[in-house]
């Protein structure tokens, strides 16, 4: 029983990321409305960001900013600070994600102007005619 408890506590960050990822993927595949597909893509992105940031965490560690004070510099213990690399990667990924979301919304507006709808099947009908 305790093993199972530790098993769940030890890895539920991955579970949260996987569940979010599946919700996003389901939205991208199954939804008919293109805007909902874009929302699915954003949820997918959030899952990846959550995954990376949770990898960077260390138990009992603080944020990767050193106590500063020039001159009074001591040896740094790496275990006391969270891993900075995933934070760096996700920091840029978030802003780039917002920009790509902007491009997606612009394309949606253009599609709506041309076809009068953003429902996938209705667009396919107008293309066939």
């Amino acid at each position: 029983m305790e093993d199972l408890f530790n098993y769940i506590i030890g890895r539920y960050n991955y579970w949260a990321a996987i569940i979010l990822l599946l919700i996003g993927l389901y939205g991208m595949i199954a939804k008919n409305n293109l805007l909902k597909k874009v929302i699915g893509m954003t949820i997918f992105q959030a899952a990846i960001i959550l995954f990376y940031v949770s990898i960077g965490d260390k138990r009992g560690a603080t944020i990767p900013i050193l106590d500063h004070g020039h001159g009074t510099h001591q040896a740094i213990e790496a275990a006391a600070y969270a891993n900075p690399l995933p934070h760096v990667l996700m920091l840029t990924a978030i802003v780039v994600g917002v920009s790509t979301l902007g491009v997606a919304l612009a394309i949606l507006q253009k599609i709506y102007r041309v076809h009068g709808t953003i429902e996938e099947d209705e667009i396919l009908e107008t293309i066939d005619q």
């Binding site: 890895r11 991955y14 990898i55 138990r59 900075p84 760096v88 840029t92 780039v96 902007g102 612009a106």
Partner: protein
């Protein structure tokens, strides 16, 4: 379609949950991601760059080349939205002027926005300039600056915001931020160092190499902030008005 999707999701979910068993447990200091390069950054970056915020040190110094092109990606996204949505000039050019007293304007909202915007911009400048010593940096500060302009455009209208910050300058500055970043790197190249090796600025500025790293990072963070600010604002005004840049939402 929904059934196929559910089957795909179920299979993928089972595979991923099985794979998650082999991943290191949450918060393990000995996990593979935390034992190789990141320890070097944590232990040595202060010695090499004199910047206490290791995230900023890695972002703007060790991985500066990567960050330069992340900024280019943001710039390209802004230009793409402009190309897709922005309409060609009309036959009768519209006169852009602020209309603070249009019917339905909410005086409480507008007053609150007017009080908030300068505070947001001051805070954003602090986030950019103090990004070496506290959480912050160019991306975060740029987004806050962009949000302050978007707040102005939301509470008044887009025309009023554009009257303060003309579209021409928005686009010029968004390119200027990327160019500032690249120029800081090219100066290093010209002085016989690697691209974006900020140590080259030491002689030019008359400071030590360590301080040059810190100052070089501040320079590129300012470039990033300018680009992010302009692109966020440009994305909003184009998306909210469908490319017309009239009243908007």
């Amino acid at each position: 379609m929904k059934k196929t999707a559910l089957i795909i999701i179920a299979v993928l979910g089972i595979l991923l949950l099985r794979a998650a068993e082999d991943l290191p447990s949450w918060g393990d200091p000995q996990s593979p991601a935390s034992v190789h390069l990141s320890n070097y950054y944590l232990e040595e970056s202060y010695e090499e760059t004199s910047v206490p915020n290791i995230v900023t040190a890695v972002l703007a110094d060790y991985r500066s080349y990567d960050t330069l092109f992340e900024t280019v990606v943001i710039f390209c996204a802004g230009i793409t939205v402009l190309l897709i949505l922005r309409r060609t000039p009309r036959r009768w050019p519209k006169v852009i002027s602020p209309r603070p007293n249009r019917p339905g304007a909410d005086i409480i909202l507008q007053t609150a926005a007017r009080l908030l915007v300068p505070m947001m911009q001051l805070f954003a400048l602090y986030v950019v300039a103090h990004g070496h010593h506290s959480p912050g940096g160019g991306f975060q500060g740029g987004v806050i600056l962009g949000a302050s302009l978007i707040l102005l455009a939301l509470s008044y209208d887009i025309e009023m915001a554009l009257h303060r910050f003309k579209e021409k300058f928005v686009l010029l500055f968004s390119a200027g931020g990327v160019l500032l970043y690249a120029a800081i790197g090219l100066v290093c190249l010209y002085l016989g160092r690697n691209f974006l090796a900020y140590g080259a600025w030491a002689d030019l500025l008359g400071i030590s190499e360590l301080a040059a790293h810190s100052h070089g990072m501040l320079g590129v963070e300012i470039g990033v902030a300018i680009t992010v600010l302009c692109i966020m604002f440009s994305l909003y005004i184009d998306l909210a008005s469908g490319g017309d840049l009239d009243e908007g939402l």
